[in-house]
């Protein structure tokens, strides 16, 4: 197990985000005045009604959304302590490549790239020396772990079922071994067997010291996995 770092990994303070739509002439609320802290190596689950802004928090951390107020302090291994809301685009891209992973239920892969190459390329991105043999070996291990049939490896993921796409997504994100992993309902469309597979990998990542912030509708799935639960309405819930 890696050295457990002192102090928080992520500290969000007073995060507010609304979406102004010029066409409609009004704002849609994302989240408002969210404060939460995640310790290094901890798994925090976010719960709350749909539309309460759970995903907005994750997307703000990942800079896919631009919040209006607050700060998102992140302790980077390479860049030190920085506010992700103020970090440069180049810094965010660096962190996305080496430190912060994001998994959603939507497939986001390059077209005309086989399932196998999708995962290999993801691995190569994070291994700066470009160790192809290692990337291929890890890719095979992960695809086998997720029981993605070998007959699909050389096909384009666009043709995959929802569950297969999702498992591929997760494999591509996890192979980079991020320090901080953002999980936006990664098990939403999976059957129970696949959910167990995802859970096994999350547990393994956690043992490896990965810090995680995740949204799950499936409370059963979170049980025993989450260190703390953050509710959008009530804040942190003990237990």
């Amino acid at each position: 197990m890696s050295r457990r770092e002192e102090g928080f990994m992520l500290r969000i303070e007073g995060l507010s985000k609304s979406f102004y739509l010029h066409e409609a002439g009004r704002s849609i609320r994302g989240c408002s005045s969210i404060s939460l802290t995640v310790q290094a190596g901890e798994f925090v689950g976010i719960t709350g009604r749909s539309g309460s802004g759970k995903s907005t928090i994750l997307r703000s951390i990942y800079r896919t959304n631009l919040p209006q107020d607050g700060s998102i302090l992140y302790r980077s291994a390479a860049l030190g302590l920085l506010d992700l809301m103020k970090a440069s685009e180049r810094e965010i891209l660096y962190l996305r490549r080496f430190e912060i992973g994001y998994i959603s239920q939507f497939l986001n892969v390059l077209p005309r790239t086989t399932a196998y190459d999708t995962v290999v390329q993801s691995a190569l991105e994070a291994v700066s020396e470009g160790d192809r043999a290692y990337a291929e070996q890890e890719t095979e291990r992960l695809l086998r772990h997720f029981e993605l049939p070998e007959s699909l490896w050389e096909l384009y993921p666009l043709t995959f079922s929802g569950g297969e796409k999702l498992r591929l997504n997760i494999a591509a994100a996890m192979i980079k071994k991020p320090r901080l992993l953002l999980l936006d309902e990664p098990t939403a469309s999976l059957d129970n067997a696949s959910k167990r597979k995802v859970r096994e990998l999350i547990e393994r990542l956690k043992q490896g010291g990965c810090t995680m912030l995740g949204i799950f509708h499936d409370l059963e799935f979170m049980e025993g996995l989450c260190d703390r639960e953050f509710n959008m309405q009530e804040g942190f819930i003990d237990g």
Binding site: N65, L79, F98, A126
Partner: protein, 294 residues
């Protein structure tokens, strides 16, 4: 799994903190017309990009942009927004009214290359820039063979070895999937997609570290578009080429560029990570653009 690979490499950070853009565009402006005291003041409102008093077209207004090594930066915007003028100013095809362009490859970025002599500009363009125009007729000599087109580019950069030019030409045409049996055919007899790929091969002749791609896939059918886009991505991945990619097609930008800028009426109105621009567009025009896509 080996333990040494489990942590993010820390070695790269020094590079990130000291990294410098390979191409910097600083406050570039370009106008067509005489200008007048009214439109000389940036605070005065124009009608889109035209001065209401003197009719001068302000094609570029105070545009600044950086491209870092190995990066693809996208520029989107409607036609007439100044995208191509920006490319043409950078490649010296069009004279800018004011502003500077620097590259780390010339005097380590100390000089404004727009102020160089015509000879120096030609040398810079031949050695460091590869241009691909939307219209292949601008980038190719249509009646010369494809191989001669590539050779011409290499001769301009000082190459005099025929065997070397031939070998380079054949390998480039192979890279862009032109059947070698047609290497000596003039591009005039090629399809649009093939012409575009020959143009890319020509642009690559001297291994330029910077590629300027202006609407390279516009007007091509979807399968050819895909081939060209895959080729562009492979160039970035395998050769670490830095690129400035102009397109009015958000799909193209989404696929190619991690960072993008949105242009309207000669100005950059929004810039950011491409996924952020697509999912959380700020400006009214960008929202319109994104909503037209989805």
């Amino acid at each position: 799994m080996s333990a040494s690979k489990t942590t993010a490499p820390v070695t790269d950070t020094g590079a990130l903190q000291t990294e410098r853009p390979i191409l910097s565009i600083e406050s570039l402006s370009c106008s067509f017309g005489t200008g007048c005291p009214f439109c000389a003041k940036p605070e005065h409102e124009l009608e889109r990009n035209v001065c209401p008093r003197c009719g001068t077209v302000h094609a570029l207004r105070d545009v600044s942009l950086e491209v870092y090594p190995g990066e693809i930066v996208g520029i989107v915007g409607e036609s007439g927004s100044g995208k191509s003028t920006l490319m043409r100013c950078v490649s010296f095809d069009q004279q800018a009214s004011s502003g500077a362009v620097r590259t780390a490859l010339v005097d380590e970025g100390a000089s404004n290359i727009l102020a160089c002599s015509p000879q120096q500009k030609r040398a810079i363009r031949n050695a460091f820039f590869g241009m691909v125009y939307q219209n292949p007729w601008l980038g190719l000599r249509m009646d010369f063979s494809s191989l001669s087109n590539i050779a011409e580019q290499m001769i301009a950069a000082g190459c005099r070895n025929v065997e070397q030019m031939r070998a380079r030409g054949l390998s480039l045409l192979e890279k862009v999937n032109i059947p070698l049996s047609r290497a000596t055919d003039p591009p005039r007899v090629f399809s649009g997609g093939m012409q575009q790929r020959v143009q890319i091969a020509k642009a690559l002749s001297n291994n330029p570290p910077i590629l300027l791609l202006d609407e390279v896939t516009t007007g091509l059918d979807l399968s050819v578009q895909a081939t060209v886009l895959d080729l562009v991505l492979a160039l970035r991945r395998d050769l670490d080429v830095s690129m400035l990619v102009v397109s009015h097609d958000l799909g193209v930008i989404r696929m190619l560029a991690q960072r993008s800028a949105v242009m309207l009426d000669g100005r950059i109105i929004e810039r950011g990570l491409t996924d952020q621009i697509l999912e959380d567009p700020q400006h009214r025009y960008t929202q319109q653009l994104v909503h037209s896509l989805l």
